[in-house]
């Protein structure tokens, strides 16, 4: 946790400086009537800079390395699989369409996480995909991404 805090603080400091500098470089500080678009971002960046400096100082002074926060073993694997599957689901939305994508995503992930029988996976997937279609596409008329099968 301590090392993570140090890295986070350094990153935040860099972002804060870039944010303030960017405001001054690209936007007007003062307009005809009063403060311009650069005014608020500049001050926010400055305050963030101070906070990040304080945080950096605090984490550098900390002697105890702190608890390990990164999950290990099965916890990490589960988290990464859920995240990876979600990213794949979103990236492939344009290809599969929302309804088919939802069904495929659910079958795969429910099967992996719970080791449920295929019929459970398929029932959950079909139910949720149907619900999605009914509520969003049919009632709310949201133009959901459409796949090769036309839904």
């Amino acid at each position: 946790m301590r090392n993570t805090d140090r890295i986070t603080a350094a990153l935040l400091l860099a972002c804060a400086v870039a944010f303030s500098a960017g405001a001054l470089k690209y936007y007007k500080w003062w307009g005809a009537a009063g403060p311009g678009p650069a005014f608020m971002p500049f001050w926010l960046g400055l305050f963030m800079g101070f906070l990040a400096l304080g945080f950096l100082f605090k984490s550098l002074k900390q002697k105890h390395p702190g608890d390990d926060w990164l999950p290990r073993g099965e916890g990490l694997r589960h988290m990464l699989v859920v995240l990876g599957a979600s990213v794949a689901f979103v990236v492939l939305l344009k290809v599969t369409g929302m309804i088919l994508g939802t069904a495929l995503f659910l079958v795969g992930l429910v099967r992996y996480l719970g080791r449920h029988g295929w019929w459970v996976c398929v029932t959950v997937a079909a139910g949720a995909a149907g619900f999605n279609w009914l509520v969003f596409a049919h009632w709310l008329r949201v133009p959901l991404p459409v796949g090769p099968l036309g839904f």
Partner: protein, 482 residues
């Protein structure tokens, strides 16, 4: 609408890992097709439902569905172990009903007066009030105030992205057309609270198998003796809950903790607390419901949300084209009174459903996490997409999901970030307008009495943790010098 909201609310609240902010964020897209009044009625009922739903898991499996039910675990779970789960849930339902109804009455009495008073607010008062809201939320949000303030600043910085409201300049767009309109709070909120929680749960679920809930609650209706024993706890919880909830920044969680502490202090048998005292369930449960209702007072009258959930609701109001604040009462009375009336109905429904339908909701706890998690993700994706039919929003929801997971792991406050993101543009406009009319720069904040008091209170909220940290530092150094 209210029935639907309450039912879904209790279900969502009962599912561990999804609290009121996630529930409201995920269901907000569903209300786009409705008129604003029906939409907010459903969301407000949902909010009330989740507050109670969180209690069910707190009592039955010692896992609070949301943070305001954390204290309920202490005595509620102990009661359940003694075979008194029904009694605990029953008294919580009755306490919630009484507190919620009293809260609505107070909301009805206080809001119009407050709205009238705040009509005299100019930009300096508005800015000072937002400053107070932001600093107190941050102060109360987590264990480490520094991380709370960092989360808030990130939210404010994100709020700067997009067209400047006064000059029209596009800021920090990085050449991405979708970012020119600014970062929408909804994908951010769905990501931080919805997906972030799921990722967190995915990791945890492999560690501990969730305890099975005990079903078959035969006596959910508490006996008259229990009610008599708890009646003052309910009363005290209601009063404290409302008083705390009205303050911008302090929400139901703080109210429930406070009510529990006070109840333990005034009790004749404090040693029973933590071992299944019915007062230890009645007081915090009443307090969190009263506070949830009271949190609507600053949202409706001043346009300042009192909690993460009301911040998301405020964002919803703005998406429907309503401007929360003093004018709302004059311009959209049917909306405001519709909301207030629906709160009464929601409370009655809550009482009926929580006593009659508890066994049904308990069954929802049995849905394995391996099925629940993927379903929540699907709902997050569809919800984020349907805001503007944009895959960019879905992408940003994913990114903020990962950020939300990391924030939770590392002790930052997603609530402060969302609140700052919603309030950021409003605060900027108020600040710049104040400076335009001011002849003393920022001094204008101290020249007018109301804004001076509010600004001082906000500065105090910042100064308290800083002072405490410095004090701790000097104490640590003292022995070395001696």
């Amino acid at each position: 609408m209210a029935v639907c909201g309450v039912t879904v609310g209790i279900l969502i609240g009962a599912l561990p890992g999804i609290g009121p902010p996630s529930g409201v964020a995920m269901l907000l897209p569903l209300t786009f097709g409705m008129d604003p009044t029906s939409g907010i009625i459903m969301l407000a009922a949902l909010y009330a439902g989740t507050m109670y739903g969180g209690t069910i898991t707190a009592v039955l499996i010692n896992t609070p569905g949301e943070s305001a039910s954390v204290v309920t675990c202490l005595d509620g779970y102990q009661m359940a172990l003694k075979g008194e789960a029904g009694k605990a849930l029953g008294i919580a339902a009755i306490g919630s009903f009484i507190a919620g109804t009293a809260g609505v009455v107070l909301l009805m009495l206080v809001s119009p007066a407050l709205a009238k008073w705040s009509l005299s607010f100019g930009p300096p008062e508005t800015f000072a009030l937002m400053l107070l809201g932001l600093t107190t939320v941050t102060l109360l949000a987590g264990d480490d105030p520094l991380k709370g303030y960092i989360s808030m600043m990130v939210g404010l910085m994100l709020a700067m992205v997009g067209y400047d409201i006064i000059s029209g300049d596009a800021r920090y767009g990085l050449g991405v057309p979708e970012m020119m309109d600014g970062i929408d709070f909804l994908p951010v909120a769905i990501g931080l609270f919805g997906l972030g929680e799921v990722l967190f749960g995915a990791e945890e679920s492999s560690k501990a198998q969730m305890a099975k809930g005990k079903v078959g609650i035969r006596e959910v209706l508490p006996r008259w003796v229990d009610f008599v024993r708890a009646k003052w706890s309910i009363f005290r919880g209601t009063v404290m809950g409302f008083a705390v909830g009205v303050l911008p920044g302090a929400g139901p969680t703080v109210a429930s903790f406070l009510a529990y502490t006070v109840e333990k202090r005034v009790s004749k048998s404090p040693e029973e607390f933590g071992k299944g005292a019915i007062e230890g369930v009645a007081a915090p449960e009443s307090a969190n419901n009263a506070a949830a209702t009271a949190a609507m007072v600053p949202m409706l009258t001043l346009g300042i949300p009192g909690s993460a959930t009301t911040a998301i609701m405020l964002g919803g109001l703005m998406m429907w084209g309503l401007r929360p604040g003093p004018m709302l009462f004059e311009k959209n009375p049917q909306f405001v009174w519709g909301l207030i009336a629906s709160q009464y109905i929601a409370n009655v429904l809550l009482l009926i459903m929580s006593t009659l339908a508890i066994p049904l909701f308990v069954r929802a706890l049995r849905i394995p996490y391996s099925i629940l998690m993927p379903l929540i993700i699907v709902f997050c994706v569809t919800g984020a997409y349907s805001l503007k039919n944009s895959l960019f929003d879905v992408g940003s929801m994913l990114v903020f999901g990962v950020i939300g997971y990391l924030m939770k792991k590392l002790g930052y406050s997603p609530a402060a970030l969302v609140l700052a993101l919603v309030l950021g543009p409003l605060a900027e406009r108020a600040l710049r307008q104040s400076l335009i009319i001011s002849d003393a720069g920022l001094g204008i904040l101290f020249q007018r009495p109301i804004s001076a008091v509010l600004t001082l209170a906000a500065l105090l909220a910042v100064a308290v943790p800083v002072g405490r940290a410095l004090l701790a530092l000097s104490r640590r150094r003292a022995p070395v010098g001696q």
